[in-house]
């Protein structure tokens, strides 16, 4: 058929597919090559990072090296270094010959001889050991004895050995020795070697010490790396293996390859952002954090988030894509990562943004509406305590009943032994109940304490009838920031009628009472008192650039417009004085946050007069609607709706709960649960469909996610606007981002216990009472006083700053501190004063602390300085007559101008005093602290008026730097110690004597 030429060739059988096959095979090959390339290069971008890092870092080090080498050279040329070097050279020179001798003896004599002896000895010993084994396994006594004879024969065998001479001369000697002799020889040589080596060490001791001294000198003076270290790093870079660098933590299944690209993170050189061209290579900006959170133990993503495993791209690694639940924190929120493990802290050292966020949460009253674990713990604890008490009472009842039954059984049972057992059981129950009684009492005390501590965020609104001007109220509720910009009372989005209703309810449900009428005081004096007594630690006055004072409490610029003068006098004089409330017993009324400054009535009147002059001439519209009962009825609903009772005490709403969501775990709430509402799409498009985006926008404008929504007024978002600054928003966002459910096991978390728990308890109290408004407690604290022009510009007033409390726990005795905190006047009768620093215009106020808080605060200060509670006073060497006399002389000498500044109790002299009285030293201070204080006050209280360098070192004692009396010059002890002892045994008579001497 194929021969038929007319038939065209069959396309099926003749068509060639070679080209198809070739092309498709080539494509297949290409796709395979692509797959390999994709796998090897594209999916491993870190390779290029590493290649670049290697090159850049080497370049960087090479540039750094000459600089460091020059520094090293400079140190080497310094006289101190030269001196030590010379010392070293001489120390080494002295022993050089001896050392060489020892080395020769050991190396050429003892060791060769020992080796030779051992070799011969070991041959014999192996033979003996093998025969011993045969003895041990043999059961035939005859054979055993035959073998024993064999051993004896070996022991007796004389071996010829050639041993090098032990003196290192190189010669040898031929000896004939038996097993025993060989053994002795060998052991003897071992001892000889040890002795020689010990001798060598001894001889070198001095040289080594000097060398260490020299090296320490170098490392102390050199800032940065030495040239040898740099060379080491360069060499390391030369052999730098390209590959994934990872940290793998098995117990939390964490794999972090961050360092595959962030290669400079842990380098010993500080690499700034642009040092290696790209910021990716910079070293960790806060290496001190890595010291306490070793990446080998904590990884990277545990703090920073991100996808530690991913190495394919920046987006993947940073986890900044839709489906990664833990995207890398942005730099401004990086401290959010601290919170998950440090959730129990209110102050995390080093995390200032986070701390600010927590403080804002506290001091902006967020917790009024939003529960957050740890905030407002008192009210929750109160509930628990009450629950405990109920349980204990029930136990007690049950025990009593069981006891009666047991007694009954004991009385009636015929069996003697059984009866005794019943009685014993009854007795046991009775004792148990006694213990329970004690426990219940403790709880009752605790309950009373807690009841005093529980305090809503805002002021009680039960007293507004006495306190405020009626017409002022509606305007304030409508927009508090109009009246008082920056007020903590946020702006609610209220309708006018709601404002009227709420005002009416509050007005009509406020307490009625009588106020004592006060005459007007002196406004000028009031102003001075207001500005210097301490009011401005919390309050502020003036607006805009003229504003002075703290932000903790209200700005009082227009307080005269709103507040009743008589009430103001009462409030300033004693904030704890309340108008009787028929519904709540006085002891259960929360104590005010505002402390008493122990002012006299006259002073109170002066301040009140000054404050009541702080007003504008704004007209207030008529507010008679506030007396209409139906308005009030509607107001109750509005108050409930807006959750006013979350922050304020309001009659009839004492038991009202919070209206907001619990924010304890807000950061790990699934993103879909955050209601972006109509903004969802925009957020997704613009890339802020994240927790951060939500928090920031919500905080900036709480109504943001209502925008564009068609809603009834009451269905709209209720969260009011706090008009936060952008740094405040960022701090709160950081805090909320960190508020996550941690996935880390307990050992990773910071669980404060004992002292550390006391520290955190203390921080709560301090934050809540704004101790930092006046005192510096942490370095970096800026108190309100420190910002006031008077204290900043005038060097005299600078000394009027309240004392720093950096090391308060080490300074004072805990019992004294508790006393002082309870009553800072340190006197029940003379309360118009400071107990310690009477020269200060500012006054340590009396806070309404509960016993629990006092105890916690004391523990806080002690724990921060690792001081034990209770304090056991150190035993002090008693002061001999001559000691006393020398002390007295020193005290009055020109070198120790103590009494120039320290108070003496004589009013005429105390006018210029700027330091406390020595009389209270013994019960207040700790001697060791006092001693250290005298030597170097600046390292305890930077900026203190107490001068440094009063003493100079003389051998191992400290003596006064200046001209001292002859008798003191003969004293051989430590002057500072003597003064401390003298001070701690100071009494009134001694003080008088001192003054007489002066």
């Amino acid at each position: 058929m194929a021969k038929d030429n007319k038939v065209p060739p069959d396309p099926i059988t003749t068509k060639s597919y070679s080209v198809h096959l070739l092309v498709s095979m080539l494509l297949l090959m290409a796709s395979l090559v692509w797959a390999v390339y994709d796998e090897v290069e594209v999916m491993r971008p870190y390779k290029e990072y590493q290649a670049r890092f290697r090159g850049y870092y080497t370049g960087f080090l090479m540039q750094l090296r000459p600089e460091q080498a020059a520094k090293e050279e400079a140190i080497r040329n310094s006289p101190e270094y030269q001196e030590v070097s010379a010392e070293l050279a001489s120390a080494e020179g002295e022993v050089l010959a001896d050392i060489a001798g020892i080395d020769r003896r050991v190396g050429q004599g003892v060791i060769p001889r020992m080796t030779a002896a051992r070799n011969a000895f070991q041959v014999l010993r192996s033979e003996i050991d093998s025969i011993r084994y045969l003895i041990e396994v043999s059961e035939d006594e005859d054979r055993k004895s035959a073998l024993r004879e064999d051993i004896e024969e070996i022991r007796a065998r004389v071996v010829e050995v050639e041993l090098p001479l032990a003196d290192g001369s190189g010669g040898t000697e031929e000896l004939e020795m038996q097993f025993e002799e060989l053994e002795q020889e060998f052991l003897g040589l071992q001892e000889q070697r040890a002795a020689l080596q010990a001798e060598r060490l001894e001889k070198l001791e001095e040289a080594n010490r000097v060398r260490q001294e020299r090296d320490a000198l170098m490392s102390d003076r050199l800032v940065g790396l030495g040239s040898a270290q740099i060379d080491g790093l360069v060499a390391e870079m030369r052999n730098f293996p390209i590959g994934i660098k990872q940290i793998h933590l098995l117990d939390i299944d964490l794999v972090d390859r961050c360092e595959s690209c962030h290669l400079g993170i842990r380098e010993p050189v500080e690499i700034a952002r642009t040092d290696l061209i790209y910021p990716v290579f910079q070293s960790h900006p806060r290496p001190e954090l890595l010291d306490i959170h070793d990446p080998e133990e904590f990884g990277c993503s545990s703090c920073h988030n991100g996808n530690g495993r991913a190495t394919r791209s920046v987006t993947k690694g940073h986890g900044r894509h839709k489906f990664w639940l833990w995207p890398l924190y942005f730099p401004e929120n990086v401290e959010a990562g601290c919170h998950q493990c440090h959730a129990k802290e209110i102050v995390t050292v080093g995390a200032e943004t986070l701390n600010m966020g927590r403080e804002l949460y506290m001091n902006k009253g967020c917790w009024g509406c939003h529960r957050f674990d740890g905030f407002d713990a008192e009210s929750e604890e109160l509930t628990l305590v009450r629950q405990d008490m109920r349980n204990l009472n029930a136990n007690r009842e049950a025990n009593a009943k069981a006891m009666r039954v047991s007694l009954d059984l004991g009385d009636t049972t015929p069996d003697r032994a059984m009866s005794q057992r019943y009685y014993a059981r009854a007795e046991d129950l009775r004792l148990t109940n006694t213990r329970i009684d004690a426990e219940i009492h403790n709880l009752e005390v605790e309950e009373a304490n807690l009841a005093r501590e529980v305090k809503k965020f805002g002021p009680s609104l039960k007293e507004i009838k006495l306190k405020d001007r009626k017409e002022w109220i509606p305007g304030w509720i409508k927009n508090p920031h109009d009246f008082r910009p920056g007020s903590k009372m946020p702006v609610f989005r209220l309708l006018d009628e709601e404002v009227q209703q709420i005002s009416a309810y509050l007005w009509q449900n406020a307490l009625d009472g009588e106020l004592v009428q006060h005459p007007r005081g002196n406004s000028e004096r009031g102003k001075e008192l207001f500005e210097t007594r301490g009011c401005l630690g919390c309050h502020s006055i003036g607006e805009g650039a003229g504003r002075i004072g703290g932000s903790f409490a209200a700005n009082l610029s227009r307080v005269g417009e709103k507040m009743n003068y008589d009430y103001m006098v009462r409030w300033i004089h004693d904030p704890s004085e309340v108008t009787p409330d028929p519904d709540v017993p006085d002891e259960m009324r929360p104590r005010p946050v505002m402390p008493s400054l122990r002012l006299t009535f006259q002073e109170s009147r002066d301040i009140a007069t000054y404050l009541s002059e702080q007003r504008t001439d704004e007209e207030y519209p008529d507010a008679t609607f506030m007396d209409e009962p139906e308005m009030a009825a509607a107001g109750l609903d509005a108050i409930r709706h807006y959750g006013c009772a979350g922050c304020h005490e309001i009659s009839g709403l004492e038991e009202e709960g919070r209206i907001g969501t619990d924010l304890t775990l807000e950061g790990s709430k699934p993103i879909d649960r955050l209601d972006f509402a109509l903004k969802t799409h925009e957020a997704e498009m613009e890339g802020w469909h994240t927790h951060k985006g939500f928090f920031e926008r919500k905080l900036e404008n709480p109504a943001f996610f209502d925008e564009g929504k068609e809603r009834e007024h009451l269905e709209r978002l209720r969260m009011p606007n706090f008009n936060l600054r952008s740094d405040e928003i960022n701090a709160l966002t950081t805090f909320l981002l960190g508020a996550v459910e941690t996935t880390f096991p307990e050992q990773y978390r910071f669980e404060p216990e004992d002292e550390l728990a006391a520290v955190q308890e203390g921080w709560w109290i301090i934050t809540r009472h704004n101790c930092t408004g006046c005192h510096q407690i942490r370095p970096g604290n800026v108190s309100s006083f420190m910002t006031m022009p008077r204290y900043v510009d005038d060097p005299d007033w600078a000394e009027q700053l309240p004392p720093q409390l950096y090391t308060e726990g080490a300074r004072v005795q805990p019992e004294w501190l508790t006393q002082f905190l309870r009553n800072p006047a340190l006197s029940d009768s003379d309360t118009d004063r400071n107990g310690v620093r009477r020269y200060l215009h500012a006054r340590m106020p009396t806070f309404y602390f509960s016993d629990r808080q006092l105890s916690n605060l004391t523990k806080f200060f002690m724990a921060r300085d690792s001081q034990p509670v209770p304090y056991m006073p150190e035993e002090m060497e008693p002061l001999s007559q001559s000691d006393r006399s020398i002390g007295r002389q020193l005290f009055t000498s020109d070198a120790a101008p103590c009494l120039r500044c320290h108070m003496t109790g004589i009013p005429s002299q105390d006018v210029d005093a700027t330091a406390p009285n020595f009389l209270i030293a013994a019960e207040r201070l700790k001697p060791n602290w006092t001693y250290r204080w005298m030597l170097e006050p600046a390292s305890i209280a930077p900026g203190t008026a107490m001068p440094s360098e009063l003493f100079q070192q003389d051998g191992d004692r400290w003596v006064f730097a200046g001209e001292i009396p002859a008798q003191a010059r003969r004293y051989e002890g430590d002057h500072a110690d003597l003064l401390t002892r003298y001070m701690f045994q100071m009494d009134n008579a001694e003080l008088r004597r001192l003054q007489a001497l002066q």
Binding site: M1, V7, L21, S31, W34, D672, L678, H681
Partner: protein, 311 residues
């Protein structure tokens, strides 16, 4: 027009097959029918020309006398298979290198996805959930689909069109299959994938998938529209309606089956059982679009409400 949204849906890696389906299924439908029409033309030519019919090789493909009627598998078939395998491999490789398989956040039972969708090939069933109770959409219908597919060879008594594309000789069968496969199955998958957004709401392509979208819809049962309020009358009424529908559509199908002389001839070849099964399947198949229309156009939820089940 929200192009971004459209792109988001279309470019979702898991939706690639659906997007592919939009092109592939029409293509192959066209491709198959083109050959069917060619064969039909041939058949017509042959039935008009008895002589030719006897000698013709009877394929639309070219054929010359002298060409082998059969060819060796090796190499003629195997090389094609090999080529196909290579091309499929290339496609798969490139697809795999360029597009990543989706991986979302770890499973979280407390966080419902909105919309939470089944794999794409089940989206037709999920879409049916809108129109039917789960037991129909999720159990009865799939079962019927499988059973229906299995019985096709046993109820199709048309001896023509065995092993070659044809349209004219199998009009009814092809229309039925295209109706079932393309119109019902594939379209519903496409709707389920591209149209159904959050809350399983209907979003036209280009509409933003807004989670907050609210639609006012009141779906009523048929008996409520008619005004029957109490059992057992509701059940009886529903049963009557369903029965009525079955009767009417059965009649319509019968008319369709017996529309041409040829189809009547085929019917003659069928047993009663075959016919009954065919009718039952056709009725159910017709019920589906009808219910969809009733739901989408007239907002009717159930037609038949009984204490035990609702249809």
């Amino acid at each position: 027009m929200d192009w971004h949204q459209l792109w988001t849906i279309v470019s979702l890696p898991d939706n690639i097959p659906i997007v592919g389906m939009l092109f592939i299924i029409p293509f192959f439908t066209w491709y198959g029918l083109r050959q069917a029409f060619a064969n039909d033309r041939l058949a017509e030519k042959l039935s008009n020309d008895k002589e030719l019919a006897r000698t013709h090789h009877r394929k639309a493909h070219p054929f010359r006398k002298g060409w082998a009627r059969e060819v060796s598998v090796w190499p003629y078939l195997l090389r094609m298979e090999f080529l196909a395998a290579v091309i499929v491999t290339i496609i798969l490789m490139v697809w795999s290198i360029t597009l990543d398989a989706p991986l979302e956040e770890p499973a979280n039972p407390s966080l419902t996805m909105n919309p939470s969708k089944a794999p794409w090939y089940f989206l037709g069933l999920q879409e049916m959930l809108v129109y039917f109770d789960p037991w129909i959409a999720g159990v009865l219908m799939p079962t019927l689909i499988i059973v229906g597919l299995i019985v096709i060879p046993y109820i199709d008594e048309n001896p023509l069109g065995n092993g070659y594309y044809t349209y004219k000789q199998r009009r009814f069968a092809i229309w039925t299959f295209i109706f079932g496969f393309i119109i019902l199955w594939s379209t519903m998958i496409v709707i389920g994938t591209l149209i159904r957004g959050p809350g399983w709401m209907w979003f036209w392509p280009g509409m933003t998938w807004d989670h907050n979208r609210l639609i006012f819809e009141i779906n009523r049962d048929l008996h409520e529209i008619v005004g029957i309020t109490s059992q057992p009358w509701i059940g009886i009424f529903g049963g009557l309606v369903v029965g009525g529908f079955a009767t009417v559509s059965g009649y319509a199908c019968h008319r369709l089956i017996t529309a041409t002389e040829f189809s009547r001839k085929i019917l003659d070849r069928m047993s009663l059982l075959q016919y009954a099964i065919l009718q039952a399947l056709l009725i159910v198949m017709l019920a589906l679009p009808l219910k969809i229309a009733a739901r989408l156009l007239f907002r009717i939820k159930y037609v038949w409400v009984t204490p035990w089940f609702n249809v």
